[in-house]
Amino acid sequence: MQQSALNHFIKNTFFKYRVLVLVVFTAVTLGMLYFASQLKVDASFEKNIPLEHPYMQTYLKHQEEFGGANRILIALEDTSGDIFNEDFFKALNKATEKVTAISSVNQPQVQSLFTPNTRYIEVVEDGLEGGPVIPATFDGGQESLETVRKNVLKGGFVGRLVANDFSAAMVSAQLFSVDPNTKEQTDFIAVSSQLEQIRTELESDYPNLKVHIIGFSKMIGDISNGAQDVLMFFGIAFIITAILVYFYSHSIQLSILPLLTSVVAVIWQLGLLTLLGFGIDPMSILVPFLVFAIGVSHGVQMINAVGKNVAGGSTPLDASCAACCRLFIPGMVALLSDTVGFLTLLLIKIDIIKELAVTASIGVAVIILTNLILLPVLLSYAKFGKSFSKRVTKGAEKQTFLWRKLASFAQPKAAKVTVLVAAVLAIGGVYFASEMKIGDLHAGAPALRADSVYNKDTAFITDRFSIGTDVISVMAETKVDGCTDYTIMKTIDDFQWHLQNLSGVQSTLSITSISKVLNAGFFEGNLKWKVLPRETATLAQSIRYIETSAGLFDKDCQYMPIMVFTNDHKASTIEQVVSAVKQYKQDNPSDLVDFKLAMGPVGVMAATNEAVEAAQYPMLIGVYIAVILLCLISFRSIRSTLCIIIPLALVSILAQALMTWLEIGLTVATLPVIALGVGIGVDYGIYIFSRMLDFIREGDPISEAFYKTLNLTGNAVFFTGITLAIGVSTWMLSALKFQADMGILLTFMFLFNMLGAVILLPALASFFYRR
């Protein structure tokens, strides 16, 4: 569409039927407000993992039988340092009952000293003898406590159900992903608050008791609690932005309108989520901020143009109409490039990122309507006092000095220096960016801060017990009754020992380790007999004594996981295990056993890391192709496109270098940041260059063209950068580490993309448009 035709269209539709436009927007907004109020929190486990990854296929295949990664551990600590007292055992019994009563808990798999599956076996003169660790006659007295202590030792529960120093005891449970009672997806947040209730109750009933709870659902609960602070951050961002807009526009009316239209955009976005059947999760809860910030920053371009027109003597209606006509194309291009930038996130095969892509795209698409139609129409009703034009002119004079300074960057000499500095930064940036790590770099739940209750509980449990939460299971897939075949068992045992020898591995556990212990047990506990029995009958006999609920084999004895407890879940540790498994399979091919990666929390992380790593470059290439195409289409010039893209690329590289420097790993949370940053960051360049190109084509030298551009739009560009940065910088306060990381990186990208657009872009232009 030609500009004149577009002008005609805009004038004869939106501005001719102004009232109708307002009525329609009001009606839709009210409707969306209703839907937005129905928005649900949705934090399913599957959403966070790359379901299409081969590791996750293994995970999904065996999840039902082996419980997957969804385990909760409740450690009861006696602050006196010794659990063997009547009160503690009462509390432990109560905790066991309460945990078992949670409806999505897999009841037969609950384990504590009080559950019937906690039995000991001991060697006596005429064979084996065993029984429940807590005998039926248990009365809490000294004598029965002493019996329990002995049974705990005999059963080998120290380190698993009882702390190594006897200061705490454990209740362990598996959660179903579908609640067997309600047949609905398990609500992890509800489970988490039930657990929190158990904690509060027990701690108030037993003053000597401290409860530590960890597990995926608890983590999700804590994350969603942390995410609730987001409302406060939104408030802070809103107030600061409002103040800035006022200083910028010198008019209360002009300040309120872009804020209002941006809030409308947020309401529509949230309403549309419900309509599309999406919920909100701790990651996508950040999208409304972005939508708001993008809305305001683009709105500012509009009020800037309208204000200048009014100051130039137009009526508000004419001024709004003219501004709308002029900004429609660049505004549309900028917003579309945001949307396309977000949509490249769909390349990543992790649902939570896909949803982020969709929700952010919806939000920005909505802004196209609210900012390019609703806002100018509203502005056309605005009343401007007489002093308004004066204030605008006066303000503009003050800034002239700054614009002159900036414009000097576009003079050939300064431009050379600028480009040289940029080149040095690029080289340094590439060096550091290449050091960027994949995955989570710190202990505990990476989504939460190191000093959060959850991470402190994790530290307590891993410190006092011998069970780590950092476990990756490799599934040995064999034939039916594979566990009674010596060759198969030996293959598994050799493989397990190979992994055990890795420096990042603390310990390993599989059916073969238990089978050896039991074999020694059959020979009166003599360690000379701690070997895998070679006879099928003997093997079968030893395995008969292992509880299926131990999760070491399935009912057909065909699938047997090898649990590998790692020192931590740093990407390098995970990588060591994963590549050792792959290498071992290559070096020792077996027809009988296939070792399949991976299950367990660290198995999920391994898959996520690989998915994130694999997605990194396609995503970057995607987002850059998208913005390059958009620039080419809108400017029809390779030179212009280069002027816009080069600063963006430099900032992307520097952002990665910053991640290395701040020890932020590339994760599900930080991966989308670059795409978001580039998609939104390109706006500055587009707004500046669309103006500048006009002046260049009129024959102005670059620095003059740039100076004129700054006079017209410089204010708005600076303002856009600062508004966007403020909108996301409040995330840095978040209790959730991944939100804080995203906040740091986005703030960096927004600010530096702006600086790139006002410093590097004109310098590049003076190179490319030399005459």
């Binding site: 003169e125 020898n501 009166e524 506990g525 070997v531």
Partner: protein, 325 residues
Amino acid sequence: MAKLLIKLSLFLCLLGTSGVSAEQSVIAAKAEQSLLIDIAQLSGDKLVAVGERGHILLSNDNGESWQQVVAPTESTLTAVTFIDDLTGFAVGHQQVILKTIDGGETWALQYQNKEDVIFPALMDVWFRDGGWGVAVGAYGLYLHTKDGGQSWEQMPLAELEDPDFGLPHFYSMGYDGKNNRLFMAGELGFIAVSEDFGETWSRLESPYEGSFFHVAVSNSGSLHLMGLRGHLFRSEDQGETWDAIKTNSQASINSMIELGGSQLMYLGVDGVLLFSNDDGKTVRKIQRQDRNGLMAGVLTGVNSLVVVGEKGVNRIGLDGQNKEQ
């Protein structure tokens, strides 16, 4: 041409032997922490430990540092003994018998019987001299050599058979050098003596119906018999009569170390040590924190022992506590 043929056939032979991958132990970074079952002491601070997966570890500094050497087996080794600083034997599951003539650096497979499911394992080995030796094991397995292990002969030992149970597991041999008597202990209260270095045996009356895991003769000449559930017996008349020693422990006892004078240390499962300073007449129980089972040990200094067991090697003091690394 003939020369070429010989060369060719030699080459093919070599190819043939390397094609058949002879079983051997895998050198592992954490072999020091694997299950180790027996340990032998040579002169010059040298120690040799053996255990699961054919692990053989050497130390030249009394256990401060260890190097694993390749063994021609992956079977679990249950006992090791040396005739002198160079020549030694190790035995284990699948009736494996290994011999070294260079102080444990390299080992040759002398004997094994993988197919024999009736007699799956050897449990102890004893050599009178470079030629004469006995290896004993599960279900009454009894192997005898008179030529330094070149050939082993399986002997049925019908005289020891119990009419109801048959032959028990033979777990341990202990030699009384003063009286030239060889003792053998094992399953279900089995204790026997041989006065002709193991050619013929006769049962002794047992003080206990449970299994014995170890029999040893101390410097003073007293006989020590130990095993299941903390049972420890002492005899001053070569097994005619026994004193039951009060151990206050239910942990099975696996071996005995001489500490000099009349001091002894017994090693057991569940991290239990029994210390005696009166040649085993009375013992004091020491509970180690890690509760890992201990199988064997040697005295390496005034107040230092090197013990092996469930979780590998440990250097400990007479108080039973770990020495600082």
